[in-house]
Every structure is written in structure tokens, then in C-alpha cells.
């Protein structure tokens, strides 16, 4: 069997997810044993403009140029993977959608703001069809490899549609609510092995909300723990702002 041709592309993002791929370490060589990476700008000078078996996309779609580019990539690629929060749910770039675009452009670039076209931040699937999602900010390497294997096997990968709490409990963490701080684990999709809570921090919701969150219930919990709502709604926006687009 010929090795599938794989290319990595990035849009508006911090490139941390690419770095996560590089962080696989020597295991990367095993990965490279089963795929043929034809383009990966961050670490390679080679380019490829032909058909692709797999396109791996990082970053959100934030300007007209990006919309065109992602469409072209989609046309060339048999399978398209969105990886990282920016690509899968809009991620932190979505916070921009909180503001009027002129206002935010002026704030950052002053008088020359008109040089910086921007439009509403979108996740990749809000611009083109996506076949696989690897959520997370950054991606969780074991999940990325699982997805890669699913791609090679030609089978779908379902992002867990249950909250981070599940994994958090299995890791026997003391719940953040017991420590009297808010945690978004209750409404955020699992799959990261409750990474942040394992390290003593709260869940920031980087993997996006579960498909059927009990938002009212979650708000009641905040009231129960006397946590100011505005703080938390704001925090919800850190990653989930693009949810409102469609």
C-alpha cells in the first residue's frame, strides 16, 4: 500500500499544535513511517500543489484570503482534519467576535487600521467540510495519534460527547468546586484526560461544549457556589464564541 500523502497547513493560530506534533519525539518517526508528509511549512521547505490524501489544518479562518485558501485546500484533499481549538471551534480567535471589528482594529493598529482586513472568526468546518476533529488548545498528542490511526484505517473518529468531569474523576482529582473555584469541565467535551485539572488548574473549556449541555443547570451550580456569573460567562467566551455563528 502506498503511504498517504499528508500536508500540514496553518491559518490564524499560535502554531502550538504543530509544535505538539513535533513534540511526539522519536515516536514521530513511527508516524512518518506510515505517512508521507509532503508539506509542513514550519519544519520543511518542500511544497506540494497536487492532490492530497490528507490535509491537516490548524488555525481559524479570519479573513477573505483565508476563506479562499481553505477552499482550495479542501478541493485538493480527500480527507481534511481540523486540529486545535482554533480550527475546530474557533478558539481564542473567536474572542474577537465580541468586539466591533473597526474598534478592535483601531485599538491594535491605530491609524493604519484599514490595512488589516478582518472578518468574523470562523472554525474550519464553518467554512468547508471537515472529516475529522482533533479538539484542544493545544491538541492532546494521544488523541491526535488515535485520529491519525482512524484516518489510516478509513474509519470515523467520534470526539467524546461527554464532559471532562468523566476523565477528571477517573484521575481522582479533587473537584475544583470543592476547592471553591469554577471549572468548565462540566460542559466541555472530554478527550484531554482532564489535563488542566490534573495539574491543579481549572478547565478553560478549550475543547468546546458537549452537544447537549445543561446550561441552566450549570448556572445553578454557580449560584450554589456563589460565583459571579459575568466572570464565568466571559470565560465561556474564551473558547466558545464561534458557537454562536450558526
Amino acid at each position: 500500500m502506498e503511504k498517504p500523502k499528508v500536508a500540514f497547513f496553518d491559518f490564524a493560530c499560535c502554531e502550538g499544535c504543530q509544535l505538539q506534533v513535533a513534540n511526539i519525539g522519536e515516536g514521530l518517526l513511527d508516524v512518518l513511517g506510515s505517512i508521507d508528509v509532503v508539506e509542513f511549512r514550519e519544519v520543511m521547505s518542500e511544497k506540494w500543489d497536487k492532490e492530497l490524501d490528507v490535509a491537516i489544518i490548524e488555525g481559524s479562518i479570519t479573513n477573505p484570503h483565508a476563506v479562499e485558501r481553505i477552499k482550495q485546500i479542501r478541493e485538493r484533499a480527500k480527507v481534511l482534519i481540523a486540529y486545535g481549538s482554533c480550527a475546530t471551534i474557533g478558539g481564542v480567535n473567536g474572542m474577537k467576535n465580541n468586539f466591533s471589528f473597526d474598534d478592535i482594529r483601531k485599538y491594535v493598529y491605530g491609524d493604519s487600521y484599514q490595512f488589516f482586513p478582518t472578518e468574523i472568526t470562523k472554525a474550519v468546518h464553518q467554512a468547508v467540510k471537515v472529516d475529522y476533529f482533533v479538539n484542544g488548545c493545544p491538541i492532546y498528542i494521544p488523541e491526535f495519534i488515535t485520529v491519525l490511526k482512524a484516518v489510516l484505517q478509513g474509519i470515523p473518529y467520534d470526539v467524546p460527547d461527554y464532559p471532562v468531569c468523566v476523565e477528571c474523576k477517573l484521575n481522582e482529582n479533587v473537584c475544583m468546586y470543592d476547592r471553591e473555584v469554577t471549572c468548565l469541565g462540566t460542559v466541555t467535551k472530554a478527550g484531554c484526560n482532564s489535563w488542566c485539572i490534573n495539574n491543579g488548574n481549572i478547565c478553560y473549556g478549550c475543547r468546546g461544549m458537549v452537544s447537549n449541555p445543561n446550561e441552566k443547570g450549570a448556572q445553578d451550580v454557580l449560584t450554589k457556589y456563589k460565583i459571579p456569573m459575568d466572570l464565568v460567562l466571559n470565560k465561556m467566551n474564551m473558547y466558545n464564541k464561534c458557537r454562536e455563528i450558526f
Binding site: 467520534d158 461527554y162 468523566v166 477517573l170 468546586y177 449541555p213 445543561n214 441552566k216 443547570g217 451550580v221
Partner: protein, 345 residues
């Protein structure tokens, strides 16, 4: 048979015990009044007074991720069913958790038997520890008759101040006593002390919910349509915490994983919960328990009604973990109280 262990010998006992097999016990580490069974090698690491750990000892009997098959599909298919296990001792198991393990034993020895569970379980030595007082207001062990020891252990420790009185229940318990040898014989005064403690407990551990255990099945028979469940729909976040921490919940998912060569791999099972959205979904998108209320109801019926027919006991051990862990504040005692109220009105 009973023996005595002086408190001054406790640390020595634990060190010796940890040399025999890997030893797990409720550890002091976690903070915020949370405990966990962890690997220990000295008595100092153990919390003798603790409230139920975040996860019950079921985690040793059904690991969260457990290999069932190892396979290779390079040429045709080649698969072998395996069990991974580890001989160990668990010290400090409360009566509620011993009851939980008894429940699991029943489930997994029912035909078709689950040899993964049974093999692993047969390598685990269980040392119980009596609760002299109520853990906290969430416990309801008396309601389900789990306050006093009733088998399910090799040794059972009761803390009587300066010493532990130890009930030796099995031959492997006896072997430990013989091997470590720091024990003394009991005399009647010790047994009297033990009786006094139990007598006191009988007074303190009352009926946590105003219903007698034997009437609970009827209560549930009347309550399938109760509005109590509707209320839970609003509150439950479907996070699955209540089932993951429950000593008698054992539902699982089975998954396959291959190596990058796509040839060798394993089939494994992981804990899963009836509270999670995809649990009962089938092809065509139908979800047989779509509403959170239906799932919560299922959880309660699986504790208090269904197992009564199959195993003649409740699958709730009164440990209170589900209530303690629920950030939405869904409380088992409260739910039972509400059901009683509703069925009386």
C-alpha cells in the same frame, strides 16, 4: 478468630505488609477532606480516619482501562483473550466498600462468567476497617445494612483506642497473621470492648431515610412516573461523576486500538456511565434514554429496584459518594425522601 494489634506496632505491621505484596490504603495526600486509595509503604501515609475515597476500591477490581484481547491481523486474524492482574493487598476498606465489592462479585460471577474480573479479584487480599462514627451527613449505610461487617474480607480491623481488634475471616488472612506475627491473643475484655462499640454504633447509626429497607422496592414500583425525576432533569449536568464514584456501578464500553502499523492491537474496556449522552444511542440516531431525567431514574432503579430481583440486595452501599461528588447537589437521601413524600401524597 480474633487477634489484637497494639497501635505501637501498626507502622511495623504496615511496612511488613507492604513487603508481602503491593499495598494500597486510603492516603492522606489529597487535601480538602478528599481521600484516595494509593500505594503506601508506611503507616504514616495512611489515613485511619477517612471518609469514603474519591473512587471506591472497585478501581482495583475493574481497572479503568483493561485489556481483553490482544490481536494481530497481519495475516488473517490471530487473537488471544488475556487478563492483566497484580497480586495486592488493600488495607482500610470500610464496610460500605466491602459491600460494593460483594455486589460486583455477584455480577461478574453470574454466567457467562467474567474471568477477567474473577482472576484479578482472586489475587486481591482485602483488609477491612470499621467506621466507628458516621463519615458525614451524606452517608446512608444503615438504610442498606452496610454499617456492620458481613463477610467480604480476609481481615477486619476495628480501632479500639490503644489497639485494633482484628477478625480473621479467611485462610489468606490467617497467613498474614502468622507471617507478620506482631499480634496478640484476644481475651474476653477485648471482645466486650468490641461489643460495646457495636452497641453504641447501633444507637448512633439510625435510619437515614424514613423508610424501612424492605419497603424500598415497593416505593420504586410506585415511582416510575414520579415528578421527582423531572426535577432532576433540570439539575443534572450529565457529568457521570455519580456513577464513576459509585462502588457498584460497573457499566463499560469496549474499544479497539491498533498500533501505527495497523496490524497488532488490543481490545480493551473502559468505564462508562449510563448518565452520559451517547450511552443508549443506537444506529439511526434513536437514543433510548435521551432525557437526563430518564438516565437519573435509571441510575436509582439500578441501585434500589432492579438488583433486588436479580441478586436479592440493593446495589447501593450507602457510602454517600454520589451525593458528595455531585456539584449540582443531587442528593441520594433527598431523592429518596422526595419519592417517599410524593408517593404518600
Amino acid at each position: 478468630m480474633y487477634v489484637i494489634l497494639g497501635k505501637e506496632r501498626f507502622n511495623d505491621f504496615i511496612s511488613r505488609l507492604s513487603e508481602m505484596r503491593r499495598l494500597f490504603a486510603p492516603a492522606v495526600l489529597k487535601g480538602y477532606n478528599n481521600f484516595a486509595f494509593e500505594k503506601v509503604t508506611s503507616g504514616k501515609e495512611i489515613a485511619i480516619k477517612y471518609i469514603p475515597t474519591i473512587l471506591p476500591p472497585k478501581k482495583f477490581f475493574i481497572p479503568q482501562r483493561e485489556t481483553l484481547l490482544e490481536f494481530n491481523i497481519a495475516q488473517g486474524i490471530d487473537a488471544e483473550a488475556v487478563v492483566e492482574y497484580e497480586p495486592m493487598t488493600i488495607f482500610g476498606v470500610h464496610t460500605c466498600d466491602l459491600a460494593g465489592i460483594q455486589c460486583l462479585n455477584m455480577v461478574f460471577s453470574e454466567r457467562p462468567k467474567d474471568y477477567n474480573y474473577l482472576t484479578r479479584g482472586s489475587k486481591i487480599v482485602l483488609i477491612g476497617l470499621e467506621c466507628n462514627e458516621y463519615c458525614d451527613e451524606y452517608a446512608s449505610c444503615n438504610l442498606v445494612n452496610a454499617t456492620f461487617p458481613c463477610g467480604g474480607y480476609d481481615l477486619f480491623f476495628t480501632d479500639l483506642g490503644d489497639y485494633f481488634v482484628i477478625h480473621v475471616n479467611t485462610r489468606s488472612g490467617d497467613e498474614i497473621i502468622k507471617e507478620i506475627g506482631s499480634f496478640e491473643k484476644v481475651d474476653t475484655s477485648h471482645i466486650n470492648e468490641l461489643e460495646k462499640l457495636r452497641e453504641k454504633k447501633r444507637k448512633v447509626f439510625g435510619n437515614e431515610v424514613p423508610i424501612e429497607g424492605k419497603h424500598i422496592p415497593e416505593l420504586f414500583d410506585r415511582s416510575f412516573g414520579a415528578s421527582v425525576w423531572k426535577d432532576l432533569e433540570e439539575r443534572c449536568l450529565a457529568c457521570g461523576n455519580c456513577t464513576n464514584v459509585c462502588p457498584t456501578c460497573y457499566c463499560f464500553d469496549i474499544r479497539d486500538e491498533v498500533e501505527l502499523n495497523l496490524e497488532s492491537g488490543i481490545r480493551y474496556r473502559v468505564w462508562y456511565s449510563c448518565q452520559l449522552e451517547p450511552f443508549a444511542k443506537v444506529a439511526g440516531g434513536i437514543n433510548f434514554r435521551k432525557e437526563r431525567s430518564a438516565r437519573q431514574k435509571h441510575r436509582y432503579y439500578r441501585k434500589f429496584r432492579y438488583p433486588v430481583d436479580r441478586f436479592t440486595r440493593f446495589f447501593c452501599t450507602g457510602c454517600g459518594r454520589c451525593t458528595r461528588t455531585c456539584m449540582a447537589g443531587i442528593s441520594l437521601k433527598e431523592t429518596l425522601n422526595d419519592l417517599i413524600k410524593e408517593s404518600e401524597s
